[in-house]
């Protein structure tokens, strides 16, 4: 073969003349992509993708409630120009323009907002959507908050992408301190068997490797479904009887009382938690959104699992 070597080709691709030619070609063919602020830099997101992020992103679209909460907690809510239909915390978030659901965002609505950065999460956004948005020329930075540590890392990384490293570091440190304080208050307490109800009917509970199972563990409990191989298995009521939970905790999303949600469960008198009335509702958003309110989730769990230790 006599053609130029790959190295030569790369060098040529990087040359200013080549770049100008490409820019001209792109502009002339009308396929130009969203212009970016100067001083853009390549960063690696939590999936290992290379993303060109503007030095100071000013028009950010968030594709998940946990991301919206993180941006607001870092004091950068003003830079959000679009959020999902489910982003309802803090209340200011509800006044932002909407781009559709988490699993069904409207690409057109997103493009119309002319974002210079889109923040997504591998835990609720589809990989196909991320690919498609990136192929439309948008900078899409993906976080991957799967457990306690990666939630903290996600906050730190969003801080870095927003140019708010110090604020993020501080927030992460204070979350760690709060978590440590709760764990210390629980030192020596007996581990209680906990059934966490993600969804009551059909019963869906957290399995192995989920953030919820980990938080229950840290809150002095033992998830009775924590060994299930699937992350969110659908289980029968018989499982509840067989696993003998001492606490039943229901993640509520503002849909009626715990009694309404667990209608029919009063039959399960052989279960300690039911017999002794140790059935509690907690704000599901705290546990189901892997974001800055994770410590509140931990405190809520500790409070119902060990009320004598955590007031």
């Amino acid at each position: 073969m006599t053609g130029p070597s790959p190295g030569r080709l790369l060098a040529r691709a990087a040359s200013p003349a080549f770049r100008i030619a490409v820019t001209l070609l792109v502009a002339l063919t009308g396929l130009a992509i969203t212009p970016r602020a100067g001083g853009a830099g390549d960063v690696t997101d939590m999936l290992g993708r290379r993303v060109r992020v503007p030095a100071r992103a000013a028009r950010i679209v968030s594709l998940a409630p946990s991301i919206t909460e993180t941006v607001f907690v870092l004091g950068e809510g003003d830079r959000l120009v679009g959020v999902t239909d489910y982003c309802d915390y803090p209340p200011e978030a509800t006044r932002k323009p909407r781009v559709g659901g988490i699993s069904s965002p409207s690409f057109e609505a997103i493009l119309t907002l002319r974002p210079d950065l889109v923040l997504a999460t591998s835990e609720s956004n589809y990989a196909e959507h991320v690919q498609r948005l990136a192929s439309l020329g948008l900078a899409v930075y993906v976080i991957r908050p799967v457990d306690f540590e990666t939630v903290l890392e996600s906050i730190a990384r969003i801080g870095a992408v927003l140019g708010r490293e110090a604020a993020a570091r501080e927030r992460v440190a204070s979350m760690r301190r709060d978590a440590d304080a709760i764990v210390q208050a629980l030192a020596g307490a007996p581990r209680r068997r906990v059934l966490y109800v993600v969804w009551p009917n059909p019963l869906i509970a957290p399995g192995r490797g989920t953030l919820i199972s980990e938080l229950i563990q840290r809150a002095g409990g033992e998830s009775v479904t924590g060994a299930e191989p699937l992350p969110y298995p659908r289980l029968s009521l018989e499982t509840v009887v067989e696993r003998r939970p001492e606490r039943i905790i229901v993640g509520r999303h503002g849909q009626g009382t715990v009694e309404d949600l667990l209608r029919g469960w009063e039959r399960l008198g052989s279960v300690g938690a039911v017999r002794e009335g140790r059935v509690y509702g907690v704000d599901g958003d705290l546990l189901h959104r892997p974001g800055p309110r994770m410590i509140e989730a931990l405190r809520e769990l500790a409070r119902v699992i060990h009320p004598e230790r955590v007031p």
């Binding site: 063919t29 009308g30 396929l31 130009a32 992509i33 969203t34 212009p35 909407r98 559709g100 659901g101 699993s103 069904s104 409207s106 690409f107 057109e108 609505a109 493009l111 119309t112 002319r114 591998s122 835990e123 589809y126 990989a127 196909e128 959507h129 690919q131 498609r132 192929s135 439309l136 020329g137 699937l230 992350p231 969110y232 659908r234």
Partner: protein, 338 residues
């Protein structure tokens, strides 16, 4: 015989309908882009980056996909109806779409995502699923080289239910994160497809439709009964094999990209047959055009009704299709009973 004039009028109506539907599809969406800007973007003189990206990268592929899928499904439906001499046959009723959906789901789970090879791979998996379903239905229903109508329908319904149960099994056994967009795709969606997938689907529908069309005359003769067709030199078994493979190819490549979309394959050929009669040489191309216009229009409506959110396009095809089908049944019934 159908008059030349009637053919001309019908073709003109369908071409006009396709054009109107296409324009509506290109002009519909949450981004504030006027008709003039849409036209400018289409001829490469977009007045803004936003208009260029939205029209050329989001709306145009969508309209093209809807046209290809609608046309292909209508041809597949017409082919199945002609082959089985049964007005109720279509890829969904015969369980072929279910087989294609299962193949595509397995292809997705296999990690076939992203590259051109992956798009072809998922399409091939869906084609394989559709073919397996076709063969299964055929073997279950065939008795002595003849396909009794009732047995065929039963075989199709059973095969379809079985495949959808397998999909439910797969979905409930697999980690939610791994499922990704599958749940959404299973509702029927034209949303996130780019030009690469359009290329694959265009080749697939072109090959499949051409294969069916080469058998148009033979299908006409088969309609007279296999005995008479045989006397006229038609090899019934060969025709059946070709048409089954072609219709499975059409169903497979389309379902792989759009998910199962009902009603197009069932009602479009019927409407055309009522207007122009059952000559497949005419029916097949006209049904392709009508199917294309119908699905493009349905997708535009799906995006329009609950803006900025979207309805699954299958909801719209069913809402338009079911009443139309009832109307056809009733009027034809009345015509036959004096």
């Amino acid at each position: 015989m159908i008059s030349r004039r009637r053919v001309g009028v019908t073709s003109a109506v369908i071409a006009g309908g396709l054009a109107v539907a296409g324009l509506l599809g290109l002009a519909t969406g949450p981004a504030p882009i006027g008709p003039g800007d849409v036209a400018a973007a289409l001829v490469g003189r977009a007045r803004s980056d936003l208009a260029a990206t939205v029209v050329l990268e989001l709306r145009l592929p969508r309209v093209l996909l809807a046209a290809l899928a609608g046309g292909g499904l209508a041809v597949a439906g017409a082919a199945f109806q002609a082959l089985t001499r049964n007005p109720l046959a279509d890829p969904a009723v015969l369980g072929v779409a279910g087989g294609a959906a299962l193949g595509a789901v397995l292809g997705h789970l296999w990690g076939l995502e992203g590259s051109l090879a992956a798009t072809v791979g998922v399409s091939a998996a869906a084609f394989a699923g559709a073919l397996i379903a076709s063969i299964a239905v055929y073997l279950i229903a065939a008795s002595g080289g003849w396909l009794p109508v009732q047995t065929l329908l039963l075989a199709g319904v059973i095969t379809g239910l079985f495949f959808s149960a397998v999909i439910t099994l797969v979905v409930s056994l697999v980690d939610f994160a791994q499922l990704g967009g599958i749940l959404h795709w299973l509702m029927g969606s034209l949303g996130i497809v780019g030009y690469r997938a359009i290329g694959v689907i265009a080749v697939g529908t072109a090959v499949g439709s051409a294969m069916v069309y080469t058998q148009a005359r033979a299908l006409n003769l088969l309609a007279l009964g296999e005995e008479s067709a045989l006397q006229l030199g038609v090899e019934a078994e060969r025709v059946k094999r070709i048409v089954f493979v072609a219709a499975s190819l059409l169903t497979g490549v389309i379902v792989a990209q759009t998910g199962p979309i009902g009603f197009v394959g069932l009602i479009v050929p019927h409407g055309v047959r009522l207007a122009l009669g059952a000559d497949n040489r005419l029916l097949l191309p006209v049904a392709a055009g009508a199917g294309a216009a119908f699905l493009v229009l349905a997708d535009a409506l799906a995006r329009l009704v609950v803006q900025p959110a979207e309805l699954p396009v299958g909801v719209v095809t069913a809402f338009c299709g079911a009443p139309f089908f009832v109307y056809l049944l009733r009027t034809r019934l009345r015509r036959r009973t004096p």
